[in-house]
């Protein structure tokens, strides 16, 4: 057993764990961080968009040294049917600002840098160490962790669970349930390398400008899911994710979906001639507010994806992870400064602070959305995209049909596919869940 005792042990060196370890170390606490990967980032998968604001709160001058790819000046939303896309594009020169708001990053590289900041702040970071269990006393209080190293039990006043979406340790210790198939999406992703100039030409970009495409529609074959295409400096991240329960039900394969997405006529030209250098997969928490487990207990708190803090509607996760990690660390520091014990009651300060932040407020706002999209996935991901595409084609094709006839045939196709009550019902439910 490592005799040394720590103020806090952080399990995991992803976005949440790094934010927590950094914040506590900066305040002079004695922190041990454990990571199973070869280095921080070697197990982590993301799109990935980095939201600057949440990182600025931790490392104000991060732009000077963090490995950033492109700052985003354009967002494209595509609704796809098999042969077409209907798009909403927003591009603005305002995003070419001194301190841009969003960047693309490559997680393995970014996390490695983030981790170097954690070490500089004074935390002990131990990689290649898998935590196998939480150490608990006779009353169930968490007193440390057990690892797969020899004599691997280590003690601390508090354990920060930043173990990511699977939440294995929390489940094993009976602190939470395992994620349910309907509350997590499986995303598969590839990294496509192309010369810089080719990427800039294909996405219509200048210099370090970047663009992202989010796509939904028949590519997910009626399942609740989305595709994404993000431009980095010299590569394109391309992937697709759908709910695990939908994969289970339909028997679709994740790589089959990915391949079809790549072959879509709107997508294929963007990656033509690229060299693929990695294939990865990861789960994303999508259950929203109703799927959040207990956030703290005697001797422990849970942050980031492990607490299912993910906003699937806005595709935000890493910023919620960083923010919850930072807030948990601040709460722990306050409890420690008062020389109070790390009990559930005292650590509830973390929960209170998180509820006052955008993290819980945003998740609460969309609390009915996951269930709606899940129960109506056929309509939102198959029927509507096809109808909209048909309507657009009808609108732009000039073939001598009188406009009035065109309009009523468009309307008829919507009504025959979904009926009036279905259409109004969906619109109403959507508006309510969005409110």
């Amino acid at each position: 057993m490592i005799e040394e005792r720590f103020d806090a042990i952080v399990v995991g060196a992803g976005m949440a764990g790094n934010a927590a370890a950094l914040t506590m170390a900066q305040r002079g606490m004695k922190v041990l961080q454990l990571e199973r990967g070869e280095y921080s980032g070697s197990k982590n998968v993301q799109g990935a968009i980095l939201y600057a604001d949440m990182l600025e709160k931790l490392i104000p001058d991060f732009r000077e040294e963090a490995p950033l790819e492109r700052h985003l000046v354009e967002q494209r939303f595509w609704m796809l049917d098999d042969k077409s896309h209907v798009g909403l594009h927003y591009k603005s020169d305002d995003f070419n600002e001194e301190k841009p708001n969003r960047y693309t990053i490559i997680r393995a590289q970014f996390d490695k840098w983030f981790s170097s900041k954690v070490k500089e702040a004074g935390a002990t970071v131990l990689c290649e160490t898998t935590v196998t269990e939480l150490a608990q006393d006779a009353y169930g209080k968490v007193i440390g962790v057990k690892t797969d190293r020899r004599d691997g039990e280590i003690h601390a006043d508090v354990v920060v669970l930043a173990e990511g979406v699977n939440g294995l340790l929390g489940t094993r210790a009976g602190l939470r349930e395992r994620p349910k198939p309907e509350n997590v999406a499986l995303a598969v992703k590839e990294m496509h390398f192309l010369p810089r100039e080719t990427i800039e030409a294909r996405f219509n970009l200048k210099g370090d400008e970047g663009a992202v495409i989010e796509a939904a529609g028949t590519i997910s074959r009626g399942m609740t899911g989305m595709g994404f295409i993000y431009s980095n400096k010299e590569c394109i991240s391309l992937g697709i994710g759908c709910l695990v329960s939908d994969f289970q039900k339909t028997g679709e394969t994740p790589y089959g979906l990915l391949e079809r997405f790549k072959q879509h006529p709107s997508v294929a030209p963007l990656i033509e001639g690229s060299e693929v250098k990695e294939y990865s997969a990861h789960l994303i928490p999508e259950g929203g507010y109703n799927a959040i487990p207990q956030l703290c207990g005697d001797g422990w708190v849970v942050v980031g994806d492990a607490a299912q803090l993910n906003n699937a509607i806005h595709r935000e996760g890493s910023n919620l992870a960083m923010t919850s990690g930072r807030i948990a660390a601040e709460a722990i520091f306050q409890v420690k400064s008062r020389r109070d014990p790390m009990t559930k009651e005292n650590l509830a300060l973390y929960k209170k602070m998180l509820e006052e932040s955008f993290v819980i407020k945003d998740l609460k706002k969309y609390k009915d959305m996951p269930a709606l999209l899940h129960n109506q996935s056929q309509n939102f991901f198959l029927t509507y995209p096809q109808l909209v595409s048909k309507a657009m084609q009808n609108f732009v094709r000039v073939d001598g049909t009188p406009k009035k006839e065109k309009e009523s045939s468009m309307l008829r196709s919507f009504v025959s596919a979904r009926s009036w009550t279905g259409l109004f019902g969906d619109a109403f439910k959507f508006a309510r869940a969005w409110r």
């Binding site: 199973r36 898998t130 990294m191 789960l283």
Partner: protein, 98 residues
Amino acid sequence: MSTEVAVRVEDKLFYNRYQVDPGRAHIKVRPHTTPSPQLKALLKACPARCYELNDSGQVEITVDGCIECGTCRVIGEASGDIEWSYPRGGYGVLFKFG
């Protein structure tokens, strides 16, 4: 696009780096004669196609290509069909980009 696309997952896994831990499979399938619906779902849902049907109709796992996503745990651990953990520290998939 409703036609099936032929995909060889092995080709995709070939891009990745792994540190294999010989003789220590981090996921195990419970011995069975007829596979449960959950086990059958894993044949399709695993993104690395680690689950295969053997000649006598049972589901088997080879963990070497596993990308540690956790999908099979979410589908098959509750029913006791599989036992799931992470590889030992430092072993398993090593993402260069992620």
